[in-house]
Symmetry: C2
Subunit: 344 residues, 2 copies
Amino acid sequence: MPEASRMEQNTFTPIETIGRKALISKIASRFERHGEGLVFGIGDDAAVLDTNRQGHPLLSSEIYSEGVDFDLTYTPLQHLGFKTVSMAISDICAMNGTPEFILINLSLTNKISVEMVELFYDGVKRACDQYGVQLAGGDLAAAQSAMSVSVMVYGSAKQTVYRSGANAGDAICITGDLGGASCGLMILLREKLHFDSSEETVLDPDLTPFEYVVRRQLVPEARVDCIKSFETAEIVPTSMSDITKGLSTTLNEMMVASGTGCKIFEAALPVSPDTRHAADELEKDIDTFLLYGGEDAELIFTLPEEDVKKFSDLFKDFVVVGKVEAKSHGIKMQTAEGHLMTLT
Amino acid sequence: MPEASRMEQNTFTPIETIGRKALISKIASRFERHGEGLVFGIGDDAAVLDTNRQGHPLLSSEIYSEGVDFDLTYTPLQHLGFKTVSMAISDICAMNGTPEFILINLSLTNKISVEMVELFYDGVKRACDQYGVQLAGGDLAAAQSAMSVSVMVYGSAKQTVYRSGANAGDAICITGDLGGASCGLMILLREKLHFDSSEETVLDPDLTPFEYVVRRQLVPEARVDCIKSFETAEIVPTSMSDITKGLSTTLNEMMVASGTGCKIFEAALPVSPDTRHAADELEKDIDTFLLYGGEDAELIFTLPEEDVKKFSDLFKDFVVVGKVEAKSHGIKMQTAEGHLMTLT
């Protein structure tokens, strides 16, 4: 039976009916065992990479817990697969690296069917194809009451960029736009709350007006495109991080690590009209999402002024939001009204 | 206050009182940020390794779920830290690799205190020191109701050994002894059952007679020593795996991957007198533990006959348990009584 129609019938095959070994085979069959740089993937005690690799190997890992970091009532499994890969890959981008291989550890409750695991790996596969990475391994375990997803990424960087290299005078740049992911989460939580207090049996709200922010929450995309453009333009940012912890926290981490201060401009912060609309709908201050909202898989980086023009000729999806200053200046934002506030 | 006396007072500091960031700082302070081959460890978006590394990079990861893979009522946190690192490293050994770096993802319930997390990392640190590996990163998340531990390992191998290289005529060798870990688990479960049905308030049984098997369950050691001896002896096994899934399953995986059969001898299987004693005490057949018991972090490997003598001159802690045969022979064990049984 084709995948789609089988899913339509909401088939629920408990994992115990096929067993762990068969489930691993099902997963492995979607991914190549051998690939570029990969001598041997899923199927032995460890994955084996090519010898004599170029650049600095980079390692990073992230964990997502059900009921804390994601909620299966409004998170389709294929989106969860895509998102967890994106977020892990975002950390490699943040070091100016190219992601190459991922490993995924899942712990699964008995609420999770074989079909749901397959949907999860559909999302993982889509992310792998989009980012040019390969699934090289992982582990499966049973979980008592909540699912967890751990993603480990291996990447490499010709020129590693840390949070710590910003210099006074550098421009502070941000890709894409901010606040969407956290705003999308609030929309989803509002719908869930509404559903919980209603008589409806299926959570299926009309989210069309909020499509953008919900997509930012559920299927964020890592900025591999920006890193590729740095390489093409032969530009190396002086410092960089991703903004998954929120702008204010991230900016503080970078400036403290760099031993600098900064001044950014509220009016310059990139925001989508869709996010603004959703914030209005929620009757929330847009700045809360822009400064403190997490999970935006965007990059923040610092560039010497002369590189900004050069880079913008090649890569369009970023804006300058302010400037690195001496440490004594503090970590400040000039509000739209002209006041200086300290970001903490 | 010194660590020991603070623990004696059973201080319980909820993680929320110090926060995630401070907890990560506490963990990071126990580990070096820079080390052999490690340009930058904990503290940026990803760990950065040296360029121009030798050999094949190896990647592996494992997950442990509370209530399924471990039980905190009888598993001290420091042992859990040590064990999860050992088991992950065992997978790198199984490829003839040297473990170098680990990343650990934890999801923590509110039952877990700051002190418990510190104990966990005491165990991790002890394992790192013992095996010569470095903690290079990881992630922390909250968990609703059960803790999980994911360990990712990076290692490297000059000559990778797969499960698939066994040749008819090769000797089948096993390090250490078998069945101890699973037997230890049954002892612990028996004590827990006894405790649950008693009026006692603290689980503190006298496990002295079962010290060996309990240690095999709680603090298994990866056979890095065997891999080092292979290198010194300039011997490369034709195939290898670790026996954490139990002998019968592992042997089947190796023989199927190699396209061979085998014959092993029940009487040759390595077993400690302590394990035999514990099995007797449990009124269980020792063979069940030897063939199907999991979690023994021992290695099984195949060697051409001429290498067996050469290797045994250097490394003592292994025995020959049988021989690789043609595929048509099947995967067989000759029992102590002289019968041939198929292992499945």
